[in-house]
Amino acid sequence: MGLLNPANLLYALSLAALVAIYLRARSRPTIEVSSLILFEEAPAPVARSRVLRLDLPFWLEALALAALTLAVAGLYLRAHGGAGGRRTHALVFDLGAAMGARDGDLSRLDEARQAARRIVAEAPIGDSFSVITYALEAGAAQAPATDRAEIGRILGRLKPTDVAASPAALRAALVDARGADTIDLFADRPPPAEVIEDARLAVPPRFHQVGAPAGNLAIVSIDPGVPRATLGRVVVRNFSTHPQPCELQIDAGGRTVFHSGFIVEPRAEMVVPFGPLRAGGVVAARILTADALAADNDRYALAPSIAQTRALVLSPDPGVRDDLARILLAVNPNLIVTTADPNVSNAFDRARGFALAVLHDCGDAGVTAAARLFVFPEPWLSGSKRPPLLPVVGSVAAAEMRRRAGVGELAAPVLLGPARMVELPGWMRATSQGSGAGDRESFPLTAIGRAADGEIGMIAFDVRDHLLLDPDRLDALLATIDTIRRLIAPQDVMIEATGAPVSVPMFARTLLTAPDGAGRMLTPDRWGRVRFRPLLAGVYHLTAGRDSVTVYANYYDAGESDLIAPEFPAAPPPAAPAAAPLTAQFQMRPIGTLLAGLALLVFLLESIVLTRRAARWSARHV
């Protein structure tokens, strides 16, 4: 038995007030009689004891006030939560990529699974368990249940994903587990203290660290280079604290273009050149040396095609035309780039088709191109008969880039020039976001999508004054290059990062086959696009009738792949043994409602007593 809000016992002063009222008034009521002839004066001893002789309504009111005071003070009873008890346990699992790291035959997730099974087995019969997972986001794998066999099956079905576990997902998972009597957190690294604090848990979680420090090799990035022109590069990182042999193989066009072994220095990166490639296409790099984590041993890239194609750059600014042409040639030297001023008639052959048209601050009238990139899109002109493809809804004098696909939130916003705010059609998706300088309203800065007449790209900020060549605005250049690459890439091949949302134009129900062989059907939206989020590194196949698209998902996260990184300097506070018994052995059962009901009944009884007394004495009021 205890009190949740002992400070509210202050309301017990009402009892003192009641006693005072009764001693003053009700203990000696004055009644008027026809004559004192009929009454004898009370003897002295009786008169003295009269002060303490209180009637039934007093005791009833005192009881009601006491019950209400205890109710507002939060009186609760402690009951054993043993057999048949109602204790709930939350089992929270980290499903980040590192949980798939193996040490011998067991992965870190397997260790967590075994620890959880021991907890379930040792719990009293009747306790319920919920299973909550988190990686990219939190999810409930199992609602609270008491069926041990079902819980075991759920635990067995848990699989690690090839994404980094985010603190936000951990926070959400802990919030989901907030109502449980005990929370067991299984992860390979301690949770940030601020995340635990933000979750505002009533019961501190019991952290179960799984896995031992292990060496790991990872492919950080791959640059296929320009076929027949420049070398490609693969960056390999050794997360181990000792030198690590690495056998690397690179395949392109169905044959191995590189296969070699070398030693990588401890906790260092090594750049491995290869090529040049003979042709464009998908390039796959693979570390053949066995290590703890396999997800970051494969990586894919797309080499540009060697076929000569034409590109058009239209801009009223000659500087912009020159910058964009240089960038196009840097992305694919095989492009034949034509630049022109849109305000000059017959500046280029409009009848000729282009693979890509880059349109800066102008419309696309008269241009035939398989892909179009609108840079600083022209606002809709009044009187124009055709509705704008990309409606401009506003503009800012200076924009700041804040997010970029594949990178996430930038460490510092990149200040850009003027930008036009475009209301994206549903078939486009933003690849970078920004806002006006000093403003919080976000709008897309770059976007791509497929319209009925071809691929469409959009860069919302102006690139005049050699903005793209400014080293302080490197992210603007990278976003531009990424957009151009996506526009000129083959439409049936996509290279994406795990965890990133993927939108593929398919226009029909599509079978998605994951790298582990699992398949599921996807339904296109009104824009004819199917969307999914690859959580495993590897190759995804999308098939809809005769159409097929291949998506290569790359995984690399410097923090998650570092299996030695957890030095655990800030180990989370273990579950306080002093605090545990309260919830481990007892359950708090507040009885405030019961007390309030008792008070109501007592008041009702007092009303009956007073009413009968009033009727007996024919008083006109109670």
């Binding site: 000696r28 004055t30 008027e32 009454f39 004898e40 008169a47 009269r50 004495w617 024919s618």
Partner: protein, 301 residues
């Protein structure tokens, strides 16, 4: 209000067959000292006596003289009327306990007795009395003789309010001060006064050759002493005197004994002085009171 019952047909129907018997003469010379004012010689034969010189020869019994040769004179009951005053106590004590409505009960009884008295066309009036600051309040209706006038009391009842002290002696002194011929005085009161007061009041009326009838009224709850147990500070409604009392079953029984003793003392005094005395304890017993207590007041069927 309970007094309204006095004018209900059912109640009056029960009283229709009743009449009030007044004691006639207690004079040393029978047939001469009468109660009330003489209205002539009358026609009802009362007695025979020896002729004395000077007697009116018209009353000489000639038949007796012829048969017996004896001179006898016939005497007759004189025609007379008796003024009846019903005095109802309207002091503050008649208002408590409020649920008992003692004043209404007393007015009902007084009106009933007045209705009975009207059966012989005697002049009847109803008065209420109390005391205020040493002065007596005495308010009365005019004399009514016929039952057709009985309804006139209704308007008077509506004006009666309780208040003041019970001043029996002052009320009777006020009545005697009116210098009316002695008649019948019916006092309806709770008699919650000291013995000196009611003995003085009743004694004065008797001394003035009034025929006195006393109706002792108490309420149902008052006579049953039905107070919840507890400690109280009781206040006399007439004097304002406070008294601390502790009340319980034992005290209630003692209280009932005090009521009985007080009523017995009054009854004993009335018996000794030839005052007709009746108890009317509880309005709920009205029918029983009419049947059993009214005869004690000389009411006959």
């Amino acid at each position: 209000m309970l007094a309204a019952r006095a004018f209900e047909p059912d109640f009056l129907r029960r009283l229709d067959g009743l009449m009030m018997q007044a004691r006639r003469t207690r004079a040393p010379r029978a047939g001469r000292r009468i109660i009330g004012r003489a209205q002539g010689s009358g026609i009802e034969l009362e007695d025979f006596r020896e002729y004395a010189p000077g007697d009116d020869l018209r009353f000489l019994d000639w038949n007796a003289l012829a048969r017996l040769d004896d001179l006898k004179v016939r005497t007759f009951r004189p025609e007379r009327q008796i003024e009846i005053t019903v005095m109802v106590d309207a002091s503050a004590s008649m208002a408590l306990p409020a649920a008992d409505d003692k004043l209404g009960f007393a007015l009902t009884l007084g009106a009933g007795l007045a209705y009975i008295a009207m059966s012989e066309n005697d002049p009847v009036r109803i008065a209420v009395f109390s005391g205020h600051g040493g002065k007596a309040r005495f308010e009365s209706t005019p004399f009514f003789r016929r039952r057709e006038s009985y309804g006139e009391f209704h308007a008077f009842f509506d004006t009666v309010r309780c208040g003041g002290e019970t001043r029996l002696a002052a009320a009777t002194a006020h009545l005697l001060g009116q210098r009316r011929p002695p008649g019948v005085a019916i006092i309806v009161s709770d008699f919650l006064v000291g013995p000196n007061d009611y003995e003085t009041a009743l004694g004065d009326l008797l001394a003035a050759h009034y025929e006195v009838k006393a109706v002792h009224v108490m309420g149902d709850r008052e006579s049953a002493v039905d107070y919840p147990p507890g400690s109280y500070r009781v206040r006399d409604c007439e004097t304002g005197v406070m008294r601390d009392v502790s009340f319980g079953p034992r005290e209630a029984e003692a209280c009932r004994r005090r009521i009985a003793a007080h009523a017995d003392a009054l009854a004993d005094f009335c018996k000794r002085r030839g005052v007709m005395y009746a108890r009317a304890f509880g309005a709920s017993r009205l029918d029983d009171i009419v049947a059993r207590e009214f005869p004690r007041l000389g009411v006959i069927a």
